[in-house]
């Protein structure tokens, strides 16, 4: 029997009790190669690199390069003229100290925290409730589930514009309903108390389908016999959910929340179209502030805008690290 350089894959589940398959593979004609082991190894290495290069090029071009440019933008003082002359003075961490000292920073940070936390809690909660609801198949459940996806499928410009119209202080349909049941109209987008809540409501509406889809598929993956065992043990509906379903959903929940968090941190369109971060800075988040500094105001301040953007990246990165740590712990356990 010639020693074959190709490692033979043994399917351990199906097994290869007599070793026959292995012997056949080793002896088959297609596995005979000329005896130049080193060229084979080199070719294998080359092929491995060829597989890696496209994805490396992609990552460098679309992830690493913009990140480096952004850091460069924040460490220098870029004015409009810099794009013509190419000169931008290196100012170190001046831009960062400028934004940390700005009175808008604590407001933006707080608004971002509230926006993300409230959005995630309600998106996840409502998504989970809907997923459990649709888990019991009933007639028309597929159609209804498809309809629930509509908020996610609509372009954000459309959703945000429609919400802005609905929440118009004088002629919006929400205030019409409130007045028709005898309540005072709420100045959703023009009052400093309500503007953040208004954009959070719109964001929750948009984010529920995403959670619904992921959690529903997570529920599908839970085997039926677990539920049967719980039923035999006499578990009630709530107990089944809390002690069986929810723990088994943990990995799906974790990824859903992480994806939701990273996405929500960056939310810009909804807030900008509905309230432009206003009135004042009451619904300004870090993403909105970054845009406002760079393109929203009269004088484009691109370097501070890049600095705010980097702060946002660092926050997202920290949460990503938490997630990876949690995954490692779960895998080790």
């Amino acid at each position: 029997m010639t020693t074959s350089p190709i490692p033979v894959q043994r399917d351990t589940v199906l097994g290869d009790p007599t070793g026959e398959a292995a012997a056949h593979a080793a002896a088959s004609p297609t596995t005979r190669r000329p005896a130049s082991g080193r060229t084979e190894a080199a070719k294998a290495q080359l092929a491995a690199w060829l597989f890696l290069i496209p994805i490396c090029v992609y990552l460098v071009a679309f992830y690493l390069w913009p990140l480096i440019r952004n850091i460069d933008l924040s460490l220098r003082d870029y004015t409009l003229g810099s794009f013509i002359t190419g000169n931008a003075e290196f100012v170190g961490f001046d831009n960062y100290s400028k934004i940390f000292a700005d009175p808008t920073f604590p407001t933006a940070l707080w608004n971002t925290a509230v926006f993300v936390a409230m959005s995630l809690i309600f998106q996840y909660g409502i998504g989970l409730a809907l997923a459990v609801f649709f888990h019991r198949k009933f007639p028309l459940s597929t159609t209804l589930r498809a309809l629930f996806l509509v908020p996610w499928l609509l372009p954000l410009l459309v959703s945000a514009s429609v919400w802005a119209w609905m929440m118009n202080s004088d002629s919006g349909v929400l205030n019409y309903f409130l007045e028709s049941i005898g309540l005072d109209p709420v100045y959703w987008l023009t009052s400093p108390d309500w503007s953040l809540i208004a954009v959070i409501i719109a964001n929750i509406w948009i984010g529920v389908p995403f959670n619904l889809v992921l959690l529903y598929s997570g529920l599908q993956a839970i085997p039926e016999d677990v539920y049967e065992a719980a039923a035999i043990d006499g578990a009630g509906r709530w107990q089944t959910f809390w002690r069986v379903t929810f723990p088994l959903l943990r990995p799906v929940s974790a990824i859903t929340i992480l994806l939701g968090l990273v996405y929500t941190l960056k939310v810009f369109d909804i807030i900008w179209i509905m309230s432009r971060g206003g009135p004042g800075t009451t619904s300004t988040t870090l993403a909105i502030w970054s845009y406002q500094l760079g393109f929203g105001g009269g004088n484009p301040q691109l370097s501070p805008a890049a600095a705010v953007g980097n702060v946002l990246i660092i926050i997202a990165f920290i949460f990503g690290m938490f997630y990876i740590r949690a995954q490692r712990k779960a895998a080790a356990a």
């Binding site: 092929a47 060829l50 013509i84 004088d170 009135p279």
Partner: protein
């Protein structure tokens, strides 16, 4: 271990990556074609023009005015329309490949000039001798002229005669801020809505606010003066007392006009470009009153035609000719609903009772003031941002007008100082 099949797949992947890379490289330069192989001085050649009028499509009178100039000069003009708020950003990102002609909102001209994106009349040979001085001054920075206005517009106080009659308000009695507020009170008491305007958190908000600001005797260099406080308190009280709706905080001038056209409002502050619409609906217009009588100085609106820097300087000659063609006479200005920038053109419009350029508006524009005047230049943008922020904060009740203005002046000083 790599099999023959696996190697084929690897080669295929690399080939695909290579093709995609090539396509990406080729398409990156294809955005704005500028310059052509043909020699501009012998006629022919393609010139790119960027304007902020995306709602004027190829069949509009504005596009026709451009085509007429292109035909007259024997060139092809490629027109690209963008959002007026994105003009600065679009020009900056195209910095190495600027269009031949760029139309920008007049307060942005000093900003782009200072960034070195524009040529002066010395560079491009543009003749500005016949342009009205008060609207040309928005494009003058340090004694050099960076562009010419395509036309100018300004703001007025429209009113709905039907609503005013029902409320028993005589328009002749509206002569200053106090009498206007009294008229609003009567209109609201009669069951109608008072006044609509745009106090949105953008340049439009500042634009609409300036007649009241200047009319109270305030100066842009001092935002926390008592005169400035009087102007902001006027607006804040209107919203607080229900004479102006909450929606002014999110209205653009366009949406404000839509509100006025519902027929429920007594007054609307809006621009000359809606005169045609107003005539059709039977609305009339007066000049915005000053705080103590007389007409308040209103800001000039309207875009400037600028000639950005090009690598091939021989293109300036034709770009200047195209600009002069668009600016002479009144075809361009009339198409946009503006008052023509030359005195002769404006007189012709007034004689023809052109919409947006009737005798009333021609004289209103002649009395109007550019926003970047008083040598404010690029400082104006910073001040404007603080003004509309202060307006938003005061009108929404986040802070009192006094606190809003103090914060605004402090921010201006820290940003400019």
């Amino acid at each position: 271990m790599i099999t023959r099949n696996g190697r084929r797949k690897a080669v295929g992947l690399v080939a695909a990556a290579g093709v995609i890379g090539l396509l990406a490289a080729c398409s990156s330069n294809g955005d704005t074609p500028s310059g052509d192989a043909s020699n501009p001085s012998t006629g022919g050649g393609t010139y790119t023009l960027w304007d902020p009028y995306p709602d004027r499509d190829a069949s509009s009178t504005w596009a026709q005015a451009i085509d007429a100039c292109a035909a007259e000069l024997g060139v092809t003009i490629e027109r690209n329309s963008g959002n007026t708020g994105d003009t600065v950003k679009d020009l900056t990102t195209a910095a190495s490949n600027l269009p031949d002609i760029a139309m920008v909102d007049n307060p942005k001209v000093p900003l782009l000039a200072e960034a070195g994106l524009l040529t002066t009349t010395d560079d491009n040979g543009l003749d500005v001798s016949s342009i009205s001085q008060n609207i040309l001054s928005a494009g003058v920075v340090d004694g050099k002229t960076y562009g010419v206005p395509i036309g100018a517009n300004t703001l007025g106080l429209y009113y709905n005669p039907t609503v005013l009659e029902e409320a028993g308000v005589d328009i002749a009695s509206v002569t200053d801020h106090a009498s206007l507020t009294a008229a609003l009170e009567k209109v609201v008491a009669a069951g109608h809505k008072g006044i609509t305007f745009s106090a949105v958190g953008t340049e439009e908000g500042t634009f609409q606010y300036l007649p009241w600001f200047w009319g109270s005797g305030a100066n842009l260099t001092q935002l926390d003066s008592p005169e400035s406080l009087a102007a902001l308190t006027l607006w804040t009280d209107w919203v607080k007392n229900g004479y102006a709706p909450q929606s002014v905080l999110t209205n653009t001038q366009g949406t404000s006009w839509d509100e006025f056209k519902t027929g429920d409002f007594g007054f609307a502050e809006n621009g000359s470009w809606f005169q045609g619409d107003a005539d059709a609906a039977g609305y009339k217009v007066i000049q915005i009153p000053g705080a103590n009588g007389g007409a308040a100085p209103a800001p000039t609106g309207g875009e400037f035609i600028t000639i950005p820097i090009q690598k091939d300087t021989s293109r300036y000659e034709m770009s200047a000719k195209i600009t002069e063609c668009l600016v002479d006479g009144d075809a361009g200005a009339t198409a946009l609903g503006y008052v023509a920038p030359t005195e002769a053109g404006a007189a012709a419009q007034a004689a023809a009772n052109t919409a947006g350029a009737t005798e009333f508006w021609v004289s209103a524009v002649a009395d109007a003031k550019p926003r970047t005047a008083d040598n404010l230049g690029t400082d104006y943008d910073v001040i404007s941002q603080q003004i509309y922020t202060a307006i938003q904060v005061a009108l929404s009740g986040t802070s009192s007008p006094q606190d809003a203005l103090t914060a605004a002046q402090a921010a201006v000083q820290s940003n400019l100082g």
